[in-house]
C-alpha cells in the first residue's frame, strides 16, 4: 500500500491577538497529497496559505486537527518530521556573506553528518540550479531569481519525502518562473512530493497535479485543475475561484 506524503485532517489555527481579537486563519481544512504529486494551495492574500504551510513545516502548532507527513504525526514527532521535509519560506533570503556553494554545503551538513552524502546533496543542488560559476560568488551579489533558484535547489537536494514551497515563483520574471516550474515538474516525475502555494492561479495550472482553493481560512474546493474547471464550466482557475468564492458552486 502506498503511504500518502501528507494527510491533513480538520486543521484549524487561530491567532490570538489582544488588539484585533482572534483571527481564525485556518478553519477546518482537510486534504492529502499522494507520493509524487504536486499539490498547490491557491488563494488571495491573507487566505491562510502560509499559516497552513507553517503548520506542516512544524513551525506553528495547530489549534486543532491532525497532520501526518509520510505517516509521521507532526504533533508528536516534530523532530522526525523535520528529517523528511524541507521548507522554502516565501521571500526567503540566504546568508549574504556566504557563497552559493558555501550555503549549500552548510545546509547539507545540517541534514547529514556523512561527508560523502553531503557532497552528493551539494552536487545534486548544483546540477538543478544551473548557477555554474556564480556559485562561487557571495550570495549578496545574487539577483532575486538566482537566490530563489539556489534556495529551491537546496530545498530539493536532500530528496525529501515532502518539499514545502511557499510561493516558489513570487517576484520572478516569466523566464525564471518557467524554469522553476519545470524544475518542480521534473522532480515530481522522479517521485518527489510537493506542497506549494501561490496566489497566481493561472500559472499554477501548469505545475500542479491537484489544487486546493482556500479563502478566509476555509478550503473551498479540492481537485485536479481540469476537473474543477469542468465542474464549474470555467475557462481557467481564476473563474473557478470567482465562482467558488461567491458561493455559486459547492464541492
Amino acid at each position: 500500500m502506498q503511504e500518502k506524503a501528507l494527510v491533513i485532517e480538520d486543521l484549524c489555527k487561530t491567532y490570538r491577538s489582544s488588539k484585533n481579537g482572534d483571527v481564525k486563519a485556518v478553519d477546518h481544512v482537510s486534504f492529502d497529497i499522494d507520493k509524487g504529486e504536486v499539490f498547490a494551495l491557491i488563494g488571495p492574500n491573507g487566505a491562510g496559505k502560509t499559516t497552513t504551510i507553517r503548520m506542516v513545516a512544524t513551525l506553528l502548532k495547530p489549534t486543532s486537527g491532525n497532520i501526518l507527513v509520510d505517516g509521521i504525526p507532526v504533533a508528536e514527532k516534530a523532530e522526525k518530521v523535520r528529517e523528511v521535509i524541507t521548507y522554502l519560506p516565501d521571500e526567503a533570503g540566504a546568508y549574504k556573506s556566504m557563497t552559493g556553494i558555501g550555503y549549500l554545503q552548510f545546509m547539507a551538513s545540517l541534514f547529514t553528518a556523512d561527508k560523502e552524502k553531503a557532497k552528493e546533496y551539494v552536487d545534486a543542488a548544483c546540477s538543478i540550479n544551473k548557477l555554474g560559476d556564480r556559485l562561487k560568488d557571495k550570495i549578496g551579489s545574487y539577483s532575486r531569481g538566482m537566490i530563489r533558484k539556489l534556495l529551491l535547489s537546496r530545498a530539493v537536494m536532500t530528496r525529501p519525502a515532502l518539499a514545502i514551497l511557499d510561493e516558489p515563483t513570487s517576484g520572478l520574471d516569466i523566464i525564471n518562473a518557467l524554469d522553476i516550474r519545470r524544475m518542480i515538474r521534473s522532480l515530481a516525475k522522479e517521485g518527489m512530493s510537493f506542497l506549494v502555494s501561490s496566489h497566481n492561479m493561472l500559472e499554477i495550472e501548469y505545475v500542479s497535479d491537484k489544487v486546493g482553493i482556500i479563502n478566509k481560512g476555509k478550503l473551498l474546493a479540492v481537485g485536479k485543475a481540469q476537473e474543477l474547471k469542468q465542474r464549474c464550466g470555467a475557462e481557467n482557475l481564476e473563474e473557478v475561484f470567482e465562482k467558488v468564492v461567491s458561493g455559486d458552486e459547492v464541492f
Partner: protein, 431 residues
C-alpha cells in the same frame, strides 16, 4: 558535527566589518571614559583639600611645641578633635566621629624638631573600605600639609635655624593604610590606585563582553528572522538547543576576542596613568598581599564563573528580544534596555561602593543581575564573600530561569505569532 557547522557559520556571520567598526568605537569610548575618570579623581581630591578644616589628631607628644601648633591651627579656623589610644583605637574613634583619617603626633616630636636636620614623621592613618572611586579618595595628605605649614611658620618666626629646607618642610607623613584589621605602611592613594586598576579592569572586560555579545546576538537573530533563514534552520533536522547554543557560543567567543583586542588598547592607555605610582613605590605588591587585596587563583575562578553567568544572562535576554523583534531596526532598539541594565550598575559601581548605599537604592541595584558582576572583584578582594556568593546564586537562578524561557520560546510557536514592534505602531496587514 552539525553543531560545529552551525557554530562555524555563526562565527563567520558575526565577524563582519560592522563588528570591527563597533570595536573601534568602543575603544574610543573608553579612551574618553578614561580621561573623564582622571578628571573625577582630580576633582574629588581637590574637593577634599578645600573642604578641609576638620582634623582628628592624637597628640602623643604633649609638648609645648605640639600644643602650640594645634592652638595655632584652631586659631586659623581648624576644628580639631583630640583622640587617645593605640593607632587602631584612634582610627576607629575618628571614623565614628565622621573623619576619614586620623593623625598621630608621636612622642619625641618636639625633641626631633629642635634637633633639626631630618623632617619629623607624623603618622597618617587611613582605611580603604571598598573599591568604589569615592571610597578610595582621601584628602588626608592635605591635613599633614596643614600641620607642616603651621609648624614651618612657627619655626620661621622663632628664627635661628640654618637649614632652610628643613624649616620649610619640618614634617612628613608616615602613612599607614588599614584594610579590615590589617595595616601596611604604604600610602592610601598609591594603594587605591592599584586597587582601582584591579577592580576596574574586570568590570571593563565584562562591560565590553556583554555589550558586544548582546548587540551581535540581537542583530544575528533579527537578521535571520527578517531573511527567513531562521525558519529554514528551525525546520532542518537539528535541535533547537544547538541552534541557540551555537549562536550564543559564537557571540561569546567573538566578544571575547574583541575584549582581548580592546584590553591591549586599554592597558596601553592606563599604563601612562599609573606608571608613576607603580615605579614610585617598591614593595607595593607585597603590601597588597599583606592586606589580602590581590586575587588568588581561586578568586579568579569565582570571578570568572560570575562573568560567564553574566554573559549567558545577557545572551539569553538578547536572544529573546531578537527573536521577538519584527525587524533588525526594532531589534537594535530592543537591545537598549539591556544596555541600560549594564550601564547603570557599571557607572554606579565605578563611582560608589554599593555595599555602603542605603536601603531601597541598594536593593534596586542588587536586583539588576549585572550589578553583582561589577562588584564581584571588589567583594572578593575585600573578603565580602557572603555578598559575592549571594550575587552568584542570584545570577545562577536568574540565568536558569532565562534559559528555560528562551528554550521554551524557541520550542513554542510564539516566535512566529508574537511580534513586538519596538517603538513603531503596528502596521495593519494590507497589500
Amino acid at each position: 558535527m552539525k553543531f560545529f557547522s552551525l557554530f562555524k557559520k555563526e562565527v563567520r556571520e558575526m565577524l563582519t566589518f560592522q563588528t570591527i567598526l563597533s570595536l573601534v568605537f568602543g575603544v574610543l569610548l573608553f579612551i574618553v571614559l578614561g580621561s573623564v575618570m582622571k578628571g573625577v579623581q582630580e576633582d574629588a581630591s581637590n574637593q577634599m583639600l578645600e573642604g578641609m578644616g576638620k582634623l582628628a589628631i592624637s597628640d602623643q607628644d604633649q609638648s609645648a611645641l605640639s600644643q602650640q601648633v594645634l592652638q595655632q591651627m584652631r586659631d586659623q579656623g581648624y576644628q580639631i578633635e583630640l583622640l587617645e589610644g593605640s593607632d587602631d583605637e584612634i582610627l576607629r574613634a575618628a571614623q565614628e566621629k565622621g573623619y576619614q583619617s586620623a593623625l598621630v603626633i608621636p612622642e619625641g616630636f618636639e625633641q626631633g624638631i629642635e634637633k633639626g636636620g631630618e623632617p619629623q614623621k607624623i603618622r597618617l592613618l587611613n582605611e580603604i573600605k571598598g573599591g568604589g572611586m569615592t571610597s578610595l579618595m582621601s584628602g588626608a595628605e592635605g591635613s599633614v600639609e596643614a600641620i607642616n605649614d603651621t609648624l614651618s611658620a612657627i619655626l620661621i618666626e622663632e628664627g635661628g635655624y640654618e637649614d632652610a629646607a628643613f624649616v620649610r618642610n619640618p614634617v612628613v607623613a608616615d602613612e599607614f593604610t588599614y584594610v579590615g584589621d590589617k595595616s601596611v605602611n604604604v600610602s592610601a592613594s598609591v594603594l587605591s590606585g592599584l586597587i582601582m586598576m584591579q577592580g576596574i579592569f574586570i568590570p571593563i572586560i565584562v562591560f565590553i563582553l556583554v555589550m558586544f555579545a548582546s548587540q551581535m546576538t540581537v542583530s544575528a537573530i533579527a537578521n535571520e528572522k527578517a531573511d527567513k533563514t531562521l525558519e529554514t534552520l528551525l525546520c532542518a533536522p537539528v535541535s533547537r538547543f544547538s541552534v541557540l547554543g551555537a549562536k550564543m557560543l559564537a557571540a561569546a567567543l567573538v566578544a571575547l576576542l574583541q575584549a582581548v583586542v580592546f584590553m591591549f588598547g586599554f592597558r596601553f592607555y592606563m599604563g601612562g596613568m599609573t606608571a608613576g605610582a607603580m615605579e614610585g613605590a617598591s614593595g607595593i605588591g607585597t603590601a597588597l598581599n599583606t592586606l589580602g587585596l590581590t586575587l588568588g587563583p581561586a578568586d579568579y575562578l569565582l570571578v570568572g564563573l560570575q562573568m560567564f553567568l553574566t554573559i549567558m544572562i545577557a545572551l539569553c535576554l538578547s536572544t529573546m528580544l531578537g527573536a521577538m523583534a519584527n525587524d533588525v531596526k526594532s531589534a537594535q532598539t530592543a537591545v537598549m534596555p539591556i544596555m541600560l541594565l549594564i550601564m547603570v550598575p557599571y557607572f554606579f559601581t565605578l563611582f560608589l561602593d554599593v555595599n555602603t548605599l542605603s536601603g531601597v537604592g541598594k536593593y534596586l541595584l542588587y536586583a539588576i543581575p549585572f550589578t553583582h558582576t561589577f562588584t564581584a572583584a571588589n567583594n572578593v578582594m575585600f573578603g565580602n564573600y557572603t555578598v559575592f556568593l549571594g550575587g552568584l546564586a542570584y545570577q545562577a537562578v536568574f540565568f536558569a530561569v532565562l534559559m528555560f524561557l528562551t528554550v521554551k520560546l524557541f520550542n513554542s510557536d510564539k516566535l512566529f505569532t508574537m511580534q513586538l514592534n519596538f517603538g513603531k505602531k503596528k502596521k495593519v496587514a494590507a497589500e
